[in-house]
């Protein structure tokens, strides 16, 4: 009879096993804001494409972690002076930084001034999100950003991986300056392989033409400048 009791209890549990109310979790926490790019991926604002421009508006992307709101929300930014080499004359943040209503991503447009000293040396601006009444500071790694201002050549972030190994070859300041001079652009989209191919071929053709005209282009160390793209 005892066996029967245990069996009865066991069967009751089995029958009740499927009866379970499953809660679908919804976001109930606070709303956070952070930069789209991590601290490890610094930004560079370059005047190389237009060295005579007085200033440019440089975009800094933001992501919302939380729910979009039906009203604009204020963001607080703080410049970390101890890590910053840029002066106030180099940049101007908007008077009020807003994360737009119904947005999940937004952009801060930072005004960067092309001051004469940028020709000699790049300066660095380090900034960080601070929690405000509307939005809290997000992940630490994504809540601080580094932006270099320069009118001096510097390796762009896309000159790496396939762009370097299969197309443009090893980076040098001289090659990048030539790239800018020949193509009239400062950037390329590393995911657009047709664009990468086209830009690489134009640089390759220029080097070929110069060599043909006995004006072979050399790197500063005396080695002939080449690109890696195999196509013609």
């Amino acid at each position: 009879m005892k066996i029967l009791k245990y069996l009865g209890i066991l069967l009751s549990f089995i029958l009740l096993y499927s009866c379970d109310k499953e809660e679908i979790a919804v976001f109930k926490g606070e709303n956070y804001v952070q930069f789209s790019r991590s601290l490890a991926d610094s930004l560079t604002c370059s005047f190389l494409g237009d060295p005579t421009a007085e200033s440019v508006l440089f975009p800094i992307s933001l992501d919302l972690v939380g729910k979009p709101s039906n009203k604009d929300r204020k963001i607080k930014l703080k410049v970390l002076d101890q890590f910053t080499t840029a002066s106030k004359s180099h940049y101007e943040f908007p008077a009020e930084i807003i994360f737009g209503s119904d947005h999940t991503v937004d952009t801060i447009w930072l005004k960067v001034n092309n001051t004469p000293d940028l020709k000699n040396e790049a300066v660095k601006l380090v900034y960080s999100i601070e929690s405000s009444g509307d939005l809290l500071r997000g992940e630490a790694q994504y809540s601080t950003g580094v932006l270099y201002f320069t009118n001096k050549i510097a390796k762009p972030i896309w000159w790496t991986g396939t762009v370097q190994s299969s197309y443009l070859g090893t980076y040098s300041d001289k090659k990048y300056q030539l790239f800018i001079d020949i193509l009239g652009v400062v950037d390329l989209d590393p995911n657009n392989l047709n664009q990468v191919l086209e830009y690489s071929l134009k640089l390759k053709n220029y080097l070929l033409q110069e060599k043909e005209a006995d004006r072979t282009v050399f790197e500063v160390n005396g080695v002939e400048m080449t690109v890696n793209v195999i196509s013609s």
């Binding site: 047709n194 191919l197 086209e198 043909e212 196509s231």
Partner: protein
């Protein structure tokens, strides 16, 4: 408590037994007129536009009973196309698909089903395409060879001519004006082909090879629909992973596809032409080569007298459009005509002619007027064209050709056809003799083209005549092949013929050289 357990247990056991119920179904045997077998016989494979005729032969259990008490439904892709006992239906699309016949006994509603696989081909799969200028307009005609077998099992061929087929199948739409060239070896997928009609005035256009319907305007292959310098395209190659176009000034533009096949009209040509050293190149046309066998866009630069090749495989890779150097494994003959910058010779003709392993060039010695044939054994190793053997000799055609002659080296055969005005000659590489095939009377021969397997050549004359001529040892061995059965078909008054090409129909026909 004991009672509570018993009740709970009883309840649980009862719950577990809920699937046991009394079956009240009927199992009386229905004595219906069972269909033992349905046999379908039809007119498949068939051409698009033909009527599909399928006759149903049905074997009933009680054949003496009234077999009219049945409903018939014919379906393709679950779409009802007929309720007749036998099917007569015009299939709207090419391809393979099953046709189902559902036979339902009205009294019992019992249905039997059978199917037949049908294969609908384009009626214009392969054949001769003729591009002419007629009445001030471009005119595209098509010739198809049909066959039948007589009672004595002898195969007979007949040629069917489809005049102005583009206008005919595009509701009178004009093809354009000022025709330049046809390109037919374009296979976006393995199943079908496209045709490119190159014309002046920016009117070059792709045509669907299945039904000759208008496709993309060629100018849209360039960014903004603008061909650089508004120049005319004079030749084109599609190699599945790349496309190349030759413009009238000799510039070659190309585009690289990011995925293989089926994407022919995606992306645009790069804005930069292929750049060559030595002051660039001068090119009249791309050299004929089967790109499955010899993965390169090949051409002769008459500015610097050199043979050049751009790698163009059939799948996407980083070597696309690589300028392939010539790598000589074989020793060069003493009187070798330098393929990387010869002097003293005019380039006459080049072709790949043996599944990618042989390349032939013919040069004319400017001083002596002799014609030199160079036959190379080659392998395309992507990073280079390796040359394993070079045979070079003077061929005795000097007295049979002129500077306006056109040539055709038959693939995998030992004959080179050549023209001189209205006369068609052939040179036999084995006997080393030149022989007249036929004098077509009037009209300069402007094109000599082989069919898919080298059994026939098409001859086009400037004054609008077209001939299909047999190429086999029996015919070529006759005194005058043209008048002794060599001319299989002729058509006249076609306008000013500018180009003839073989329409392959699909990729497999192209790579296997099949005449289907």
């Amino acid at each position: 408590m004991n009672i509570l357990y018993k009740i709970t247990l009883g309840f649980c056991l009862a719950s577990l037994l809920t699937s046991c119920y009394e079956d009240k179904g009927k199992y009386d045997i229905i004595d219906y007129n069972k269909i033992n077998k349905i046999s379908l016989k039809g007119s498949t494979p068939m051409n698009l536009g033909d009527m599909l005729e399928i006759k149903a032969t049905i074997d009933w259990r009680y054949p003496d009973q009234d077999t009219l008490n049945f409903d018939y439904e014919w379906r393709i892709n679950d779409v009802l196309i007929s309720t007749e006992r036998d099917l007569s239906y015009k299939i709207p699309d090419v391809g393979m698909s099953p046709v189902y016949l559902h036979v339902t006994e009205r009294k019992t509603n019992i249905t039997s089903r059978s199917y037949i696989q049908i294969n609908v081909n384009t009626p214009y799969l392969s054949g001769w395409l003729l591009l002419a200028e007629k009445n001030g307009k471009s005119d595209l005609s098509y010739i198809r060879r049909d066959s039948y077998v007589d009672d004595e099992k002898v195969t007979h061929y007949e040629y069917n001519f489809f005049p102005s087929i583009y206008e005919e199948l595009n509701s009178g739409l004009s093809l354009g004006q000022k025709p330049v060239k046809l390109v037919t070896n374009i296979f976006p997928t393995n199943e079908y082909d496209e045709i490119l009609v190159l014309q002046k005035n920016n009117e070059s256009v792709f045509i669907d090879g299945t039904y000759f319907l208008k496709g993309q305007d060629f100018k849209n292959e360039f960014s903004g629909g603008q061909i650089p310098g508004n120049l005319q395209p004079i030749d084109y190659r599609f190699h599945k992973s790349t496309a190349h176009v030759l413009l009238e000034n000799g510039d070659i533009y190309w585009k690289k596809y990011q995925i293989n096949s089926g994407v022919i009209h995606s992306g645009t040509f790069l804005s930069t032409p292929v750049l060559y050293d030595k002051g660039g190149v001068k090119i009249k046309k791309f050299i004929d080569n089967n790109y499955y066998d010899f993965s390169a866009v090949s051409f002769y630069d008459t500015k610097n007298n050199r043979w050049l090749n751009l790698y163009a495989g059939t799948s996407v890779d980083n070597w696309a459009n690589f300028k392939m150097p010539l790598l000589f494994i074989a020793p060069k003959p003493a009187d070798y005509v330098d393929l990387e910058g010869q002097s003293g010779y005019d380039h006459v003709y080049s072709t790949e002619h043996s599944k990618g392993s042989n390349f032939m060039h013919i040069f004319k010695n400017v001083t002596s007027g002799d014609y030199v044939m160079q036959d190379l054994t080659t392998i395309n190793v992507v990073s280079a064209i390796m040359i394993f053997d070079i045979k070079q000799n003077v061929i005795p055609i000097k007295n049979f050709v002129n500077d306006e002659s056109v040539y055709l080296k038959m693939k995998q055969k030992s004959y080179i056809f050549m023209s001189n005005g209205s006369k068609l000659y052939f040179y036999d590489l084995n006997t080393k003799l030149v022989k007249l095939y036929h004098d077509f009377g009037n009209g300069k021969i402007v094109d000599i083209v082989s069919d898919a397997n080298g059994g026939e050549v098409g001859i086009a004359t400037e004054n609008g005549d077209f001939y299909i001529c047999a190429v086999n040892d029996v015919i070529l061995g006759k005194g005058n092949p043209g008048t002794e059965g060599g001319i299989l078909y002729e058509k006249h008054d076609l306008g000013k013929l500018v180009d003839v090409e073989w329409k392959w129909g699909n990729w497999n026909n192209y790579i296997f050289g099949r005449y289907l």
